[in-house]
Amino acid sequence: MKHVIIGAGVAGITAARTIKELNSNAEVVVIGDELFLPYKRYLLTEFLCDSIQRDDLLFFSIKKLNELGVKLRKGEYVKSIEPSEKVIKLHHNEVVHYDKLLIATGGRPGLGLVLRPFKKHIHFYYSLYDTLILKEKLPEVHKCIVFGDGVSCLDLICVLHNLGKRVTYITRGERATFGLEEDDFEGDLHEFLEEKGIEIITEEQIVSVEESDQGYKVETIQQKTLTTDIVFAWDFYKPNISFIEGSAIEKKLGILVNTRLETSEKDIYSAGDCVEIYHPSIKGYWINFGLPNALEQGRVAGSNMSGQNEEYKTQEAIVFNLMGTSLKARWWR
């Protein structure tokens, strides 16, 4: 039985480990588009701050990977899936056959039509690759502009601030909320950030980024001009599933799965941030972002791919450390 897992993040690696634990003879191939050994994305901030070493990011060493008997293929991405043939096609036209397939490609930030032409001047803070580039540049960086939304955006603001950089945050909203509703965060997040020295510009958005003598010149829709050493921006964070186009796998924003994490196509499962699953709290399909969900979905998918019959139950919350304050986030409410 050949299990192919697309995606080497938390969900993919957890599924691979689960499959091997249930059947050590199973053939497991994990295909990841990043150039590195599978790593814990949620620790990138600590790595950026030098709180941990690069090796501490890894799920396992090469030795452990070999002991586990999982074949890892790094730096490769999938072009298309043909469920009727039970094959996937990789970017270099290699055809890989599978018996069971798991799609665990997560989500990723992206730029809308306005910012896309300025992509080469804009940094993401998403992957280890982004982080390594950022680490190289940081010593020369004093002023930063951050434009975006979500917990990862807040995370970036915090880390830049903690590293002593002057941070300007631009949001389309009236307040800086990052889409969060806090349970036990005392006080107002917007005010809290401003008190910490973060400049927040509300009801604004970036419309152009150009190189200038002083780094970069940023223009906003309200015709403000700002200068900065580095620009972080993203318009959205969405499931990374463009390669399923034409495969008949049902999707909305993410891949639709049942509680066994099965997709509409036989022997194809999906887990993690690329999945939309029925959520009892909101009574509809929703993407369950976050580490606890990815871990549990990876485990359940791996188990079901191995012939078990498990149902996924939504994990309650993620815990986020905001400049020393613990924040529980349940953004689906």
Binding site: L35, H92, Y129
Partner: protein, 585 residues
């Protein structure tokens, strides 16, 4: 990552521009003062029908061998590159083409064989090449552009070299190749911006490049080569090509003969007529020449034969290296047939050594077999050759006026060397024959004459020893582990010794261009000072080890590698460590 030394291999099929890649890289590195060594491996088949690779090692320090392992494998042709993945270092890199046409099954895909220890980097090599050149050519330049960015090398070093290499093909070819280079560079800059740093002194002076074959040809021309006759054979043909181009400019001749027997016959004739002459061949050609080598011995006509060894026996492995011709060089032919055998260890010695070969051949009227090999002959490397140009030199023993009155071509002398003249000198009549002969050269089969003449021919070798360069002891003279090697294996031995030294194990090496005869007292002294002796060589039988055992009574640890690739320094270091462990017990 930061590097001061990098090894890259381009792997594809004949026609992919693999050899040109090595040439461009070597020239670019030499121009900015880096040490570089390039080893081309190609199939014996014609264009488009076999694997071809160029391995380039460049460094800020002097290089002695191709080292071990690849920092980067450039897989221009996926299927052919799969086997080369075994040479990629841990954490080494692989570039592969993402624009191949048609589906590829897993087992045929280079990418599917890349292990997690390595790092694969895809780029649309074919697509970018097409975009730049409008043809299927230029793939190599795309990958060189990518490499340039990947290791933060200065682009101008390659652009200058592209201009130089393609100068004879016109501006359009130069332009499209530079475009291909730029596309590869920009692709990597955009898709893999996080690059590595190759650190080097940007003020270094340019270095000269040569190959062993080039150095042999140049050395021969500089010391008075006047006539070359040969028959093309891989990997020696380059020597004939240079001779064909350069000798006419110097008033000399190059003849392509119908076979190797005719070639050496012509060379003997030229020497007989008083001209410095040479042929170059490889194992199969040397086999054919054995009868004529015997004639050279018997008739005491000087001759110089370069044998660029390749894998054997028979047609064997025409494009792979081996040191399997030592026995035929030493013993090939009929009867008691002494000859000089030399083996240069690097390109510098190819130049100086071939000049010594001519001097010895002429002075002692003997065949000299100069044993190079494919790796040494074809590899391109940065060198510092001390030129020695004297095209009128003559080392022959000329007769005195008294000797001319009653000329004895094979006069018995203390050093075994008789006076030699060019035929046609008035009054000095003599015969020359392959038959045993008297002092006048007339056939004579008497036991007494045969004994006397055989002894005379061997006595020359006692005299030759006095003219030989001393063997060199390298490494730590106080070491208990000694190594004896020959030919191009010496480079790998030196790097193996260095690897052992880094592990705290001292070694020493006795290095000599002379295989036969040798200054035996030096070797005896060296071996007596060793508790363990290691003899590595690229053949199955241990031909040099057998010679040393019979000559010096030693019992060495032998490393016999019937080679296809140059010897791994690591393999030698491992043997050294084993020997050291045995000594410690």
């Amino acid at each position: 990552m930061k590097y001061s030394e990098i090894t890259i291999r381009f792997c594809g099929i004949a026609g992919d521009g693999i050899v040109a890649s090595g040439k461009i890289f070597a020239g670019a590195c030499a121009n900015i003062g880096l040490h570089v060594m390039v080893n081309n491996i190609y199939s014996a088949e014609i264009r488009g029908m076999g694997k071809s690779s160029a391995t380039i090692r460049f460094s800020t320090s002097k290089l002695y061998s191709m080292g071990d392992g690849l920092d980067l494998l450039v897989g221009m042709e996926a299927k052919e590159s799969i086997i080369d993945l075994r040479d990629v270092k841990e954490e080494g890199n692989v570039f592969y083409d993402t624009s191949t046409i048609g589906d590829v099954e897993e087992e045929d895909s280079l990418v599917s064989h890349i292990t997690p220890e390595m790092q694969g980097h895809g780029l649309p090599i074919q697509k970018l090449a097409n975009e730049a050149t409008g043809t299927n050519q230029g793939k190599n330049l795309v990958t060189i552009g990518a490499i340039c960015y990947f290791y933060s090398l200065p682009p101008e070093m390659f652009v200058d070299q592209i201009r130089s290499v393609f100068a004879h093909k016109g501006e359009h070819v130069i332009d499209v190749n530079i475009k291909a280079f730029n596309l590869g560079y920009e692709y990597f800059k955009e898709h893999y911006p996080l690059n590595n740093q190759f650190e080097f002194d940007k003020t270094s002076e340019p270095m000269a490049l040569t190959s062993g074959n080039d150095a042999i040809a140049k050395g021969a021309l500089d010391c008075g080569l006047k006539f070359y006759a040969g028959y093309p054979i891989t990997p020696a043909t380059k020597i004939m090509e240079i001779a064909a181009k350069e000798l006419p400019k110097l008033g000399g001749w190059t003849l392509q003969m119908e076979d190797e027997i005719a070639a050496i016959g012509a060379v003997l004739g030229a020497w007989f007529a008083g001209k410095r002459a040479m042929t170059a061949t490889s194992g199969p050609g040397l086999s054919l020449m054995c009868e004529m080598i015997n004639l050279s011995v018997m008739a005491e006509i000087p001759t110089v034969i370069v044998n660029v060894q390749r894998g054997g026996p028979s047609t064997g492995l025409p494009t792979k290296v081996e040191q399997g011709d030592l026995n035929i060089a030493l013993y090939g032919g009929a009867g008691d047939s002494p000859r000089v055998v030399m083996a240069p260890t690097d390109s510098e010695e190819c130049y100086s050594g071939i000049q010594l070969a001519f001097d010895i051949a002429e002075k002692y009227q003997t065949p000299v077999i100069f044993l190079s090999d494919l790796f040494l002959g074809q590899r391109i490397e940065t060198v510092t050759i001390k030129e020695n140009i004297d095209r009128d030199r003559c080392t022959r023993k000329k007769p005195t006026s008294e000797q001319l009155e009653d000329f004895q071509r094979y006069q018995i002398t203390d050093d075994g060397v008789s006076p030699l003249i060019v035929p046609g000198k008035p009054g000095a009549v003599f015969s020359t024959t392959g038959l045993e002969h008297s002092i006048k050269g007339n056939p004579n089969y008497e036991e007494e004459v045969h004994s006397m003449m055989t002894a005379k021919r061997f006595r020359k070798f006692e005299s030759i020893v006095e003219d030989l360069p001393h063997a060199v002891i390298l490494g730590d003279e106080t070491a208990d582990i000694g190594i004896a090697g020959w030919g191009s294996t010496i480079g790998s031995i030196l790097e193996g010794m260095e690897l052992a030294r880094e592990q705290g194990v001292k070694t020493k090496l006795i290095k000599s261009i002379m295989i036969h005869p040798q200054r035996e007292n030096l070797f005896r002294k060296f071996f007596a000072s060793c508790k363990k002796i290691i003899v590595p060589e690229m053949n199955y039988q241990g031909q040099y080890a057998a010679l040393l055992k019979s000559r010096y009574g030693i019992k060495p640890i032998e490393i016999h590698i019937p080679a296809v690739n140059p010897v791994s320094p690591l393999k030698i270091a491992q043997k050294i460590m084993e020997a050291n462990s045995e000594l410690s017990q």
